[in-house]
């Protein structure tokens, strides 16, 4: 089968006046369906930039990127948001929840533009909350949740659309160790379901992942090393 993510000679630079900053340099990366990839590297090495481009939130300056066979850098904007809604789930360090809405409502947000009817929305929201272990807080306002619970809402929201690809940016940065371990458990369940997972992190806890993951080392916007976590 074709790889789910294919990146060739990808560059991203930012221009400010005369200065040109190369945030990503000649990135080559292939991710197979169902694989788990950990992007590691010091702050500023380009992890978030790379994830944003895979999510279609940012554009490369040059080079090729295909996600689910789609050349997403070339999609007109209207297709891009549709694409993101269908294929990508995102979990970020700052969960970006709507504080005034309940857990249930937060999880339903990404479903609204694509759902056929209310019954389907309700079913998917319940499923996603179950998977992320947050169903017991369904009617609580997001503002009243603990950090770990907020993150699980973010996970449920990312799962609600049942995406093939899950992107996590520093998912454990704001969690205590116990909650971070719970997060790893949820990840293994997603992995078992066959989801493709990309995680940008420098948290050593990911050494404890209970399944095989590929570690991709980034430095100054370039990939310097790719190895499997069990090597």
């Amino acid at each position: 089968m074709n790889p789910i993510i294919e990146i060739r000679n990808l560059n991203r630079h930012f221009d400010s006046g005369e200065e040109r900053f190369h945030a990503l340099k000649e990135i080559d990366l292939t991710v197979e369906r169902g694989e788990c990839v950990i992007l590691r590297g010091i702050s500023g090495s380009g992890k978030t930039t790379l994830l944003s481009i895979i999510a279609g939130l940012d554009h490369p300056s040059s080079g090729e990127i295909r996600v689910e066979g789609e050349a997403i850098a070339k999609l007109p904007d209207r297709h891009l948001s549709r694409f993101r809604g269908r294929h990508i789930g995102m979990i970020f360090q700052h969960y970006n929840l709507m504080e005034e809405l309940s857990v249930r409502e937060n999880v339903a947000v990404p479903l609204i533009p694509m759902a056929q009817n209310m019954r389907q929305v309700t079913r998917r929201v319940e499923e996603a909350m179950e998977r992320a272990n947050i169903a017991h807080k369904a009617d609580q306002k997001a503002a009243r949740l603990s950090g770990g619970e907020k993150q699980r809402v973010a996970i449920a929201r990312a799962l609600a659309t049942d995406p093939e690809i899950i992107l996590c940016d520093e998912p454990t940065a704001n969690l205590d160790r116990a909650n971070a371990r719970r997060f790893l458990e949820i990840l293994s369940r997603l992995h078992e379901m066959g989801k493709t997972i990309l995680i940008a992190t420098h948290d050593p806890i990911f050494e404890e992942l209970p399944f095989e993951a590929r570690v991709v080392e980034m430095e100054n916007g370039a990939i310097v090393d790719g190895r499997s976590s069990e090597e």
Binding site: N9, P76, R78
Partner: protein, 322 residues
């Protein structure tokens, strides 16, 4: 400066058209550059930059076109208002023929309206298709339309600039009324034959649209728009005015007739243009245009309905026809 140029509405109109032209001129310059360098297969920095700029330019063009679209009824409204100033004019008919620029300008505006709708439709399908398959066609059409819009702007200014308020113009009854026994209808038609043709062509359009027969739709709409024009001016219009001698395409856009002219002409030209474009794009690009086809047919049906209702209501109220 002629006093007409000092009229507020005329000024607003001319300035709006001029500002839109400047916007389109910028878009034109950028488009030429983009077309020159465009290579969709490439993933180079330049091509990505072009694609993003192209998206921006298309958005600007679309916005400018939508505004131009709204300026056409405003133009008609403006010249209708000028009939108070122009001696001899009772409605826009006299004003539009105040000098040699008026009528050609009006035709040009209709042609441009068709072009704008065509461009918007191609743009829609092009963006829907992910790979910009009709990018060159669309940008080429835009370049052509820009030339037309430039001529239009020049004629806009010329028309209002050469307005001679001291020279009386003919009013609509002299322009469209009985010309001393001469038959104003083309091909030696009389009113019953004209009406028969009117309804038969409408029937043809309905059948062709329901069966998605593009060539038949093109022929049907193309003939219908002419026949409908004469039918409105020489038959249906007289029921709007409730006066058998009043033959004018413009007076019906005035207040005593509830501005119904905008509905009549708007649904006719809107419907015919959409119907033509739906058929053209199905033939030319092979895209699914059924929705546009339905909207076009709906508008033309609305047009036929409104015209017919005027006659029907008159008959019910008075028990006779005009």
């Amino acid at each position: 400066m002629t006093p007409v140029l000092l009229n507020t509405q005329v000024l607003v109109y001319l300035l709006s058209e001029s500002v839109l032209w400047v916007l389109l001129a910028i878009a034109f310059g950028v488009s030429v550059h983009i077309l020159w360098r465009w290579d969709f297969g490439s993933t180079s920095e330049e091509q990505y930059a072009l694609e993003r700029r192209a998206y921006l330019v298309m958005t600007i063009i679309l916005a400018a076109f939508v505004l131009k679209f709204l300026l056409l009824p405003f133009f008609v409204f403006t010249i209708d208002r000028l009939s108070d100033l122009v001696p001899g004019a009772m409605c826009a008919a006299g004003v539009i023929s105040a000098n040699g620029y008026g009528l050609p300008l009006l035709f040009l505006k209709l042609l441009i309206l068709f072009g704008l709708l065509l461009w918007m439709a191609i743009n829609h399908y092009d963006l829907e298709a992910k790979t910009y398959p009709w990018f060159r066609l669309k940008m080429g059409l835009f370049a052509f339309l820009f030339v037309l819009v430039s001529i239009e702007l020049w004629m806009d200014w010329a028309y209002f600039f050469h307005f001679d308020l001291s020279r009386p113009v003919s009013c609509c009854s002299a322009l469209f009324g009985q010309l001393e026994g001469a038959n104003p209808l083309p091909f030696g038609l009389d009113i019953p034959k004209l009406l028969l043709l009117f309804y038969l062509l409408y029937l043809l359009i309905v059948v062709a649209a329901l069966a998605h027969q593009s060539w038949l739709e093109l022929a049907g709409y193309g003939l219908f728009v002419f026949v409908a024009y004469y039918a409105v001016v020489y038959f249906f219009g007289t029921y709007v005015y409730e006066l058998p001698t009043h033959k004018c395409p413009f007076c019906m856009m005035q207040r005593p007739y509830h501005y119904v002219g905008y509905l009549i002409w708007g649904s006719l030209f809107g419907g015919v243009f959409l119907g033509l474009i739906a058929a053209l794009l199905r033939l030319g690009l092979g895209v699914d245009t059924r929705r546009m086809e339905r909207i076009g047919l709906g508008l033309v049906s609305l047009f036929v309905l409104v015209c017919t209702l005027y006659v029907g209501v008159y008959y019910l109220r008075n028990g006779v026809l005009l």
